[in-house]
């Protein structure tokens, strides 16, 4: 439910970015700015062109000089890049090959004295650095996990997921599926003391609300009946509906606790109300 609500909010927020959704004036402003910018750009290009043609007519030799200069620079730059590239790749021009031939000759095989390419050295030293860092990460700084830690980490993750699932599964109970479970009674007792004791007495002996330890019930004494009473309450008669306050799992816990109170005969027990239950379901099974 909550997720769905959040979802609609997110959609609303996104849709605000559409044109026209915020403010008409800011839209006009943005469009105008774009138009002005484009016009300025076109104007600047045209002025530049005009200047150039004027220059060509009035001072042709300067223009030519400039063009040549530019070409020379571009070529120099290209040669520079090429030299750098060749250096990194360890390539020398093939015409220079004869200067590189060593005096080795094995069955006609010659060897060149080319340098080890820079990229090769970079790769080699790079992997060595990687090796050091890897070992530091895994075995000195303890950032990386070794297999035992990975195992423990994964088991912990799985345990967490299991708990989450179980918690969720516990909340899936309702008055139709709830079953008595003695193990839940302990946490049920805490819930009872905190929420119910004021009206039903510390030991369930009764007070504003009825006695919960006897065999007389207004709304039924089986676990499913009790769960239902607690969940929806009896608002007209002063019994609070707990649906909003307690989770289904908690209601199941406190209901199980109430079952354990059966026939405990506490002191100051309030007089019986409702109908007597002669045999509970569990007692019938025993026969």
């Amino acid at each position: 439910m909550n997720e769905m609500i959040n979802g609609t909010e997110a959609v609303a927020e996104v849709s605000q970015w559409k044109i026209g959704a915020v403010n008409l004036y800011s839209d006009i402003l943005i469009v105008t700015l774009i138009v002005v910018m484009i016009t300025l750009l076109i104007a600047a290009v045209m002025v530049n062109k005009a200047m150039k043609s004027i220059l060509k007519v009035t001072m042709p030799e300067v223009v030519k000089q400039e063009a040549e200069e530019k070409k020379r620079k571009a070529e120099a730059r290209k040669a520079g890049w090429k030299a750098l590239w060749n250096k990194i790749m360890g390539i020398r021009p093939i015409e220079q090959e004869k200067d590189l031939i060593t005096d080795h000759d094995y069955d006609g095989i010659k060897e060149l004295d080319n340098p080890v390419p820079i990229w090769f050295n970079a790769l080699f030293y790079g992997t060595i650095c990687f090796g050091f860092i890897y070992l530091l990460v895994y075995h000195v700084f303890g950032i990386g996990m070794n297999q035992d830690q990975e195992y423990e980490h994964e088991m912990a993750m799985a345990e967490k997921a299991r708990q989450e699932y179980l918690a969720q599964a516990a909340n899936l109970v309702d008055e139709n599926t709830v079953e008595f479970n003695e193990a839940l009674a302990a946490s049920g007792k805490a819930i009872f003391t905190a929420n119910c004791a004021a009206c039903h007495g510390a030991n369930g002996e009764g007070g504003i609300g009825p006695n919960l330890t006897d065999r007389y019930w207004l709304h039924g004494g089986e676990i499913k009946d009790i769960f239902k009473t607690v969940k929806y309450g009896v608002p007209d008669k002063g019994m609070v509906p707990w649906e909003q306050t307690l989770t289904p799992a908690q209601i199941a816990e406190v209901s199980s606790y109430i079952i354990t109170l059966r026939d405990t005969n506490p002191a100051n027990a309030k007089a019986a109300q409702g109908e007597e239950v002669e045999k509970y379901e569990s007692e019938k099974v025993e026969e």
């Binding site: 390539i91 094995y106 069955d107 010659k110 080319n114 992997t127 297999q147």
Partner: protein, 440 residues
């Protein structure tokens, strides 16, 4: 001036070449069978000898030790003699080496199918065969070092360094990983157990990749590529740098096969970082090869052998980039039990080793038999086809599916079937060329 007369031993090269072809067909056909078994379980034929579990190690051992192994000896025996300018040290040792190796292969295939196995991947053979391998390997070593000693060149070419590294390290790996206590002729127990056993096994397993599938092929690349392209090797300095860094770093990377196991965390992390540090040393070999082709790319467009070399080198580059990525724990957690690993294996083993072997066969056999290739066009066919199918269709499929379980096997085996078909074309071409047409 005194002129010495000597001749090279080409016969041994030819023999290893023929063995390479035969075992290539056998090993890859068995690979095809294994692939098909994954789709059609009936192909296990309901006998224990032909079940997936017995046939798969026959595939792996046949392609690695029989196909690639013979290719290494072929490539090395030819190039060693030439860069050292001398005949092999001893023709008798060469012959013992050749026939001993073939016997080991046959014995391995039979015993593996009968179910005798040590269960250590790529070292499945039982102890008597392990002993035989050791002896034959030493024969190879004596023959090689004898040749090096009586050489007529002052210096040793890079290729020879790589062959020496191969010999020394494989010897150490094989012996250390084969220390077993025999209880009967076909049964033994490893002296290591538990985590130690696993660590030794994958120290061996990974370095089998390094020193059986990588260093000898780099050595061969350094000889055959400049010969094929008729170009000088790009950089002597680079070859020194990547040789030493490769053999130093490879040795430590084995634990990346045992990530997320009972091996201590710090050992796993060491395996990871050494794997990542392997990128550059591996790529050193690739770029030294590719840059050697500088100024010869026009030849690459027309020469099938050079195309095969380029495919081999690029596959090598891909496998050695993919490998370090697979070593990262986060990636390995996803990839380990999937066909991604099998895809990685075949990019390396079939792409790099297989294709370079094909290139060398194409180049070498016409020279030894003094003939021409039967058809260049036919030679081009498997290459292009494999390229497109594997890279465009199959690898992404395998990658994409590997996480998702069920259909992976099918996709992958489908791919292997394609590859096998191409290999039939390929070998068909060969047999025509040299009139060894019996198996066509």
């Amino acid at each position: 001036m005194h002129l010495e007369q000597f001749s090279y031993d080409n016969k041994i090269v030819r023999n290893f070449g023929i063995a390479t072809i035969i075992w290539g067909i056998v090993g890859m056909s068995i690979g095809l069978l294994v692939a098909l078994q994954l789709i059609f379980p009936e192909l296990n034929f309901m006998t224990q000898y032909t079940t997936f579990g017995r046939v798969r190690p026959v595939h792996t051992n046949a392609v690695i030790f029989a196909f690639v192994g013979n290719a290494i000896f072929m490539g090395a025996y030819y190039s060693l003699q030439r860069v050292l300018k001398t005949r092999m040290f001893s023709d008798v040792l060469s012959k013992i080496h050749f026939w001993g190796w073939q016997l080991i292969i046959v014995a391995s295939a039979i015993t593996l199918l009968l179910g005798y196995t040590t269960s250590h991947e790529y070292a499945e053979m039982e102890w008597p065969i392990d002993v035989a391998i050791t002896i034959i390997w030493v024969v190879f070593g004596v023959n090689m070092f004898g040749t090096i000693i009586k050489r007529r060149e002052r210096h040793m070419y890079v290729a020879v360094w790589f062959y020496i590294a191969t010999f020394v390290t494989v010897a150490v790996l094989h012996i250390v990983n084969s220390i077993q206590l025999p209880v009967s002729f076909w049964k033994s127990f490893y002296v290591y157990s538990g985590v130690q056993d696993a660590l030794v096994q994958w120290w061996y397993g990974h370095n089998a990749v390094a020193f059986f599938l990588t260093t000898p092929f780099l050595g061969m690349m350094y000889y055959y590529l400049p010969k094929m392209a008729n170009r000088p090797v790009y950089s002597y300095k680079l070859s020194i740098l990547h040789f030493w860094s490769l053999i130093f770093i490879y040795i430590w990377a084995g634990p990346h096969h045992l990530l997320y196991s009972s091996m201590p965390s710090w050992v796993q992390s060491l395996g990871v970082v050494f794997s990542v540090m392997l990128i550059a040393p591996s790529w050193g070999g690739m770029i030294n090869g590719l840059m050697t082709l500088r100024g010869a790319w026009d030849k690459v467009r027309v020469e099938p052998v050079l195309k095969f070399m380029v495919v081999a080198l690029t596959c090598y580059g891909m496998a050695t980039f993919e490998g370090p990525m697979l070593s990262l724990k986060q990636v390995n957690a996803i990839a380990h039990f999937t066909d991604w690993i099998v895809a990685h294996v075949h990019i390396g083993a079939l792409g790099w080793n297989g294709f370079m072997t094909f290139a060398i066969l194409y180049w070498l056999l016409p020279r030894i038999y003094k003939t021409e290739l039967y058809s260049k066009k036919l030679a081009n066919y498997p290459l292009l086809d494999w390229y497109t199918r594997d890279f465009v269709l199959c690898h992404p499929n395998v990658l994409g599916c590997s996480g998702s379980g069920v259909d992976v096997e099918r996709v992958y085996s489908g791919r292997c079937v394609e590859i096998s078909k191409l290999l039939v074309y390929y070998f068909g071409n060969h047999s025509y060329a040299y009139d060894e047409s019996t198996w066509r």
